[in-house]
């Protein structure tokens, strides 16, 4: 590439001009004749239903897609037998219809080109786009080796592409779900209990007596079965304790809301440990039988009294003592929830360790109402030749972080920036199912990497921000239009679910399994894709598992009995934890040997300077990441984010609800777009809050473009977790601008 690389292309008219706009969104379902129908015929429309599992988020709830006689998708309803949703989808799953109907979808393959000096996209045939990808990939393989081809992925399409990459010899694979999301808790819990938390989390919420949420906002994150179980727990009279500087929805349902000063959670947890140990409230039998390092822990937390924590957290000592006793009273039916998006301040693995240790002291791991032992049904591998052994991959790229258990996206990007000491040069990148401009912070790094890369492919259903940086864009069909891998997830009982197309792919979009096979064949690894249709793969797998596609199409979900033993520790036996010592490790020799604190410590984190506020962000219940912002149904529920501002701050800055403002962070990064203020008591005076996933740059998103602010854009200061490479994002501070800083510049 010769031009100044990767100028962001706002998927231009040139590429998509040929597609006629559908009728106005208002009439998307045509004239409403339902009431007339009802009045005249007293019958309802006939629907056909097709089994699927949802892809709007990662929870993967099994569902039924309802199509009418005209073959239009009308609604999606949860599968009653599915332990992920119990027949009730969340708003995003219910609104999945909009993902299919969205008229802004990517419609054809696109190739970057230059017209009159302007970089733009042109429409291309699949043949041409795939040939180009194969020839560029081949070039990288021949010059640098297959390892220099990297994949950043998310969700179901990722699995097909992972297979492709491993087939041609690359293990340079990463996903934001690790280092930008739940990585620290997996490492922290693994260092304590020997096993990952995993997804869905094996939290026995429905049977718990006490649920402790630390910055986890169940109810705003719609992790379906957990939301349902939290509701059951409320019905059962469970006590909820929420630690959050913001009155989250969960906090409002809590008996105890601890309105903590941001970035001080570890101090609170250390003082809880102090109370639990000093007052002898811990599970003595469990600790004696199963733990390692209790004496060291006791000595370590002796100094961390509630009075000490009060000065740091602003939580009153009596409140700390009271909540510690409530937890201990409920134990072992207590859950200190590990959370999900936990990359906050860079000491996140240690915070997760503190949570794990509290669970260990209260004896809740492996106990009813605490954490159950999950089980999964293994799906047999469709036969293919053995994968090659790459010379290096995600592990080597992230070798600075000894306990990273998956690829670190930000390190993969860093490996793309030319540097003489870089032993692992990444030359081309494929991005699938994740909008990395909003899922990975540090825009400077991202742009430098994208600029340096020889070739970038983006696969998505929508023209997202990242699409604009691609050399080739491939339009993926939605989950409602394709066969896909079998969903087998960990739960109380193992279950599987299938995804069957309810309708053929709209426009010229294709499933990713097909793209993977096409690229694989062009790269000479066709023997890894020994099928014409992915349906054959699932048919074979289901048969091996003692069922059939025919049966699964009728039932959607199949539940299997447990085989791994009881869900909880059998009190009469001695359970061996899968750690090195076989015990719950309060004191971690592994961390110590690697040069890290063997037990968590409180670290002081920077606070916002005068005139700045900590930027906090979180989920909207009706949106997933940034991917649903343009979905007509979900956009209708929430089309922009707001800046939550405490009334005290609003008074000082003379801000009113609904007022348009811009934000600038500590590094002088100014938000591209504006956001409307929402004055509310629900946030502290030292921070502001917004929903994540808005402020889209791509003008082709007709509903989402320019609506609200992209929080990730303002996250330029990253606190990296030295243990596993997570990118802490909660240490950015913003100042509020009431005048448009872009008045004289064109966006």
């Amino acid at each position: 590439m010769t031009t100044s690389r990767r100028k962001f292309i706002k998927i231009s008219a040139l590429g998509l001009g040929g597609v006629a706009a559908t009728t106005s969104a208002i009439n998307v379902f045509g004239a409403n004749s339902y009431l007339d129908d009802l009045a005249n015929k007293k019958v309802s429309k006939e629907f056909k239903r097709t089994a699927t599992y949802c892809e709007v988020c990662f929870w993967k709830c099994a569902a039924w897609t309802y199509t009418n006689e005209e073959g239009e998708i009308k609604k999606i309803i949860g599968n009653d037998n599915d332990p992920h949703c119990y027949g009730r989808l969340c708003p995003r799953g219910t609104g999945g219809v909009g993902m299919y109907n969205d008229e802004d979808r990517l419609k054809t393959p696109l190739i970057r080109t230059t017209v009159n000096g302007e970089e733009t996209f042109r429409k291309a045939s699949w043949e041409e786009a795939l040939d180009l990808i194969a020839s560029k990939f081949k070039g990288v393989i021949d010059t640098h080796g297959a390892e220099s081809l990297a994949l950043i992925k998310h969700g179901a399409p990722g699995a097909h592409l992972e297979h492709l990459f491993k087939a041609f010899g690359s293990d340079t694979i990463a996903e934001p779900a690790y280092a930008q999301c739940r990585g620290p808790r997996e490492t922290g819990f693994a260092a304590t209990f020997g096993s990952w938390v995993g997804s869905p989390e094996p939290t026995d919420i429905r049977d718990t007596k006490c649920l402790v949420l630390i910055g986890s906002h169940i109810g705003e994150n719609m992790h379906n079965s957990q939301v349902q179980e939290m509701s059951d727990a409320i019905d059962n009279g469970a006590t909820i304790i929420t630690v959050d500087p913001r009155l989250s929805t969960a906090a409002s349902k809590s008996k105890h809301w601890l309105a903590i000063k941001p970035a001080t959670d570890i101090a609170l947890m250390l003082s809880w440990m102090n109370v639990i140990i000093e007052e002898g409230l811990y599970d003595k039998d469990y600790v004696k039988k199963y733990s390692l390092g209790f004496d060291e822990l006791k000595e370590h937390v002796q100094q961390f009294t509630p009075e000490w924590a009060y000065g740091i957290t602003t939580i009153k000592p009596e409140e700390i003592r009271k909540t510690a006793r409530v937890m201990a009273h409920a134990a072992p039916s207590v859950i200190i929830h590990p959370g999900r998006h936990v990359t906050w301040y860079g000491d996140d693995t240690q915070r997760a360790r503190a949570m794990a240790i509290l669970n260990g002291l209260l004896g809740s791991w492996g106990r009813r109402g605490g954490f159950y032992f999950k089980e999964k049904k293994s799906v047999p591998k469709f036969p293919h030749p053995k994968y090659h052994h790459p010379k290096w991959g995600w592990k080597e790229i992230g070798e600075k972080y000894p306990l990273a258990q998956m690829g670190i996206t930000s390190e993969v990007l860093r490996a793309a920036i030319p540097n003489e000491s870089n032993k692992y040069p990444v030359k081309a990148l494929m991005v699938a199912g994740t909008n990395i401009t909003k899922s990975i912070p540090d825009r400077k790094l991202l742009e430098e990497a994208l600029d340096a890369l020889d070739f970038v492919v983006v696969i998505d259903t929508m023209p997202m921000d990242v699409t604009g940086y691609a050399d080739v864009v491939l339009p993926e069909c939605t989950y409602l239009e394709r066969y896909d891998g079998i969903r087998s997830a960990t739960n109380r009982e193992p279950s599987i679910a299938v995804r069957v197309p309810a309708v053929p792919p709209k426009y010229d979009s294709k499933p990713v399994w097909w793209m993977a096979k096409q690229i694989g064949e062009r790269l000479g690894v066709g023997e890894y894709f020994n099928y014409d249709d992915f349906k054959e793969v699932i048919e074979w797998q289901l048969k091996e598992m003692g069922t059939s596609l025919e049966e699964m199409e009728k039932i959607g979900v199949k539940n299997y009995p447990r085989k791994s033993g009881p869900m909880y520790i059998n009190e009469n036996e001695t359970y061996e934890f899968p750690t090195m010592s076989g015990k719950v490790e309060f004191y971690s020799q592994e961390l110590k040997d690697l040069g890290f604190d063997p037990m968590p410590k409180y670290t002081v984190h920077p606070e916002p300077p005068q005139g700045f506020y900590r930027l906090n962000y979180g989920r909207a219940p009706m949106h997933t990441f940034s991917r649903t912002a343009n979905n007509p149904n979900l956009n209708d529920l929430k089309d922009e984010n707001n800046l939550w501002v405490n009334p005290k701050v609003a008074r000082i800055l003379d801000l009113k609800s609904g007022q348009e403002v811009w934000l600038r962070n500590q590094d002088d990064v100014t938000s591209t777009f504006s956001i409307k203020v929402r004055v509310t008591e629900r946030v502290r005076w030292d921070s502001v809050y917004m929903y994540h996933g808005f402020g889209h740059d791509n003008v082709k998103l007709s509903r989402a473009f320019g609506k609200g602010i992209n929080d990730t854009q303002l996250v330029s200061k990253i606190a990296v977790d030295p243990i596993m490479g997570g990118t802490g994002m909660r240490g950015n501070f913003v100042t509020i601008l009431t005048e448009n800083p872009h008045k004289n510049t064109e966006i």
Partner: protein
Amino acid sequence: MVIDTLKCVGCSDCVVACQTENDVPIGYCRDWITETVSGSYPNLELELKSERCNHCDNAPCVRCCPTGASHIVDGGIVMVTANECIGCGACIESCPYDARYQHPDGWVDKCTFCHHRLEKGQLPACVSVCPTKCMYFGDLDNPNSEVSQLLKNRKYKTLAPEAGTDPHVFYLT
């Protein structure tokens, strides 16, 4: 209908489920979420709830309808017959709950408690989808029904009682 505000998380699933079930055009809704915050940080109360037509016994919308399109059917559900509606909007003005909207095709639309589903023995779409199971639907005339029992055993309120409409959506508090 009985809605437990202690469980509702305000996720809007009821809104989108209603839209897809009833072909409600995008940009309109038959049910919606309200959020009420009281107190000051950190002594706060937050109430989230799903609102809709209250299917009042003493329904001002039915009284003011000039054509009889708005009417109460057996069981107490307030309905609108689309082809009798002239779209004059009197009902929209009269409703203290702001539960009605003018459909782009001219007539006035609102919640029917999913009458077409009830006929088949199914619950309204909002009730059957709610991930918190905070909504209950049933026969208030039957003292043993789940809804009657909830109202017997729990504290509850109705909206705008001062309007004297005798509403049939109850909120557990």
